[in-house]
Amino acid sequence: METIVAKDLRKKFGKLVAVKDVSFAVQSGEIFGFLGPNGAGKSTTIKMLCTLLKPTGGRAWLAGYDVAAQPDAVRRSIGLVFQDPSLDENLTAGENLYFHAILYGIPTAERQERLGEVLRMVDLYDRRNDIVKTFSGGMKRRLEIARGLLHYPKVLFLDEPTLGLDPQTRAHIWEYIHQIRARAGMTIFLTTHYMDEAENCDRIAIIDHGELVAMDTPGELKRLVGGDLITVRSEDDEQLSARLQAAYGVTPARTPDGLRFEIDNGEEFIPRFVAAEHGHIKAISLRKPTLDDVFLKLTGREIREETLSGLDVMRERRRMRRHRTPHH
């Protein structure tokens, strides 16, 4: 069953087309990832699916509801964890959840039980009466995830769920995400610009300049790269390049590390190649393709940083503030 359907979804801000006729469908129970650099249109797409922005064109359905025509029904069906924190840090963890329960009309009789349930899920039950200000970045993120689950949504949206967190905490957050899917069978839609994290998704859509450039499982996407990545250094790269083209039909790219090319069965290729080169090779390395390589292959660019808007400046300040908060 399809939980999210987007059809020719489009968003324009003035002259800028932030999202260009994007279409996709997410199956129920899937972990679906939106991957792309900052400013690619990931957050704009999420905002349209969450009814926070009205699409300029196209339509989208969430749990069967039209995001433009039935925003309230859509809002009840989704849980949201934003890229930027949205907790009140002067309130306790419990108070933040309590207010959420009221806003989503969870009956008084059920509130306490649900609060306990979601807080235990993210291991924060013992801290329920503590002021959020005293929490670490990872704990705040877990609390936001718990809050997003409180009203039993059909889809949980996570916009850059691990942004600004250290690697260990990031790994932890992912454990929770997998647990939630396993236990609640929820559909999870997330955005990230961390390529390594996207590997956790069942399917990935790669978005760049507002357009979908590919959509598949991480394994299939990596197959697009066309084999293993070999980097080789020799005494004369020019001559080696010519020989590679003639003997193996590959066109290597010049990089600061040497010549780079893609080839099937790299492990078997290396010994043959080195033997044939009779000692011309100074160094050779092999790397399995990553999603970074997929992105580079599809767009011709590495994931890049965009220039900062006014909002980004505020976001940076906010992040610096967050880093100063105590860790527990």
Binding site: P71, L80, D84, S86, D88, L91, L103, G310, L311, M314
Partner: protein
């Protein structure tokens, strides 16, 4: 508006601000320092240089309602402006995606801003005996009512401005070019009657002037306009501003 759920949203936004206000004792204390400085330092200093602007009322007494007006003004505006930050990096963002109406959110924000402003203003009112202002239960109630009306109007104005503001930088601009002149022309520091015509004209369109005039009327019994005029102007302003804020919030995105 769809009834019960929107009422809950108003309640949540209101309760949150009250809890925050109550918990942040340091903020309560510091926000009382500025009015105290005006009253006891500026008020006493100016009062010793020239006689009170109104015969029979010494200068500190004259300033007292104006300082309450100032507290209400600054508290309301800063509460409303917190929206700019809160909408991107705070709890308000969470409220904006909940299945509740924008109208309820704006009303909750305006009501919570005015509640906090009235609480702050009431604390200044407690200083009345120190200034030698005699209060009656009736004048206290009238003052609290006026403070609430005034802060609701000012909070709504602040929300209207904050609705489209994208960064905090704009706030400083508004403080300098709107809020400060509004305060100085309100009659809080000097009486409006002896002003040159151009300043008088500006004061006539300063909504705060009617608020301060009303407060002077009920606290020290001095006034330029009738209480009915004061209340009518503030009410009209509140109605226009809250309607504008609701419309602007509903048209977002």
């Amino acid at each position: 508006m769809t009834g019960k759920k929107d009422f809950s949203a108003i309640y949540v936004i209101w309760l949150r601000e009250i809890i925050r206000f109550w918990r942040d004792k340091a903020r309560i204390i510091t926000s009382l320092i500025q009015p105290a400085v005006w009253l006891f330092i500026v008020g006493r200093g100016l009062g010793s240089t020239f006689r009170g602007p109104v015969p029979g009322v010494d200068y500190m007494k004259f300033m007292f309602p104006g300082v309450i007006g100032m507290t209400v003004l600054f508290t309301s505006i800063s509460s409303a402006v917190s929206i700019v930050w809160d909408r991107e990096f705070g709890f308000l963002k969470e409220v904006l995606v909940a299945p509740v109406s924008r109208t309820a959110i704006v009303l909750g924000k305006a009501l919570s801003g005015s509640t906090v402003a009235v609480l702050q203003g009431a604390m200044i009112l407690l200083l009345a005996p120190l200034i030698g202002v005699a209060l009656t239960p009736r004048s206290v109630l009238a003052a609290l009512g006026l403070m609430f009306l005034l802060s609701f109007a000012l909070s709504s104005t602040g929300i209207l401005v904050a609705a489209r503001m994208e960064s905090m930088q704009g706030f400083q601009l508004i403080m300098n070019f709107v809020v400060m002149p509004m305060y100085f022309l309100s009659g809080a520091i000097f009486p409006l009657s002896s002003l040159p015509p151009w300043m008088k004209a500006l004061a006539r369109v300063d909504p705060l002037a009617y608020g301060v005039d009303g407060l002077k009327n009920v606290i020290i019994g001095v006034h330029e306009f009738s209480l009915v005029t004061d209340v009518a102007v503030i009410l009209a302003m509140a109605a226009v501003m809250i309607t504008g804020a609701v419309l602007l919030f509903n048209s977002e995105g």
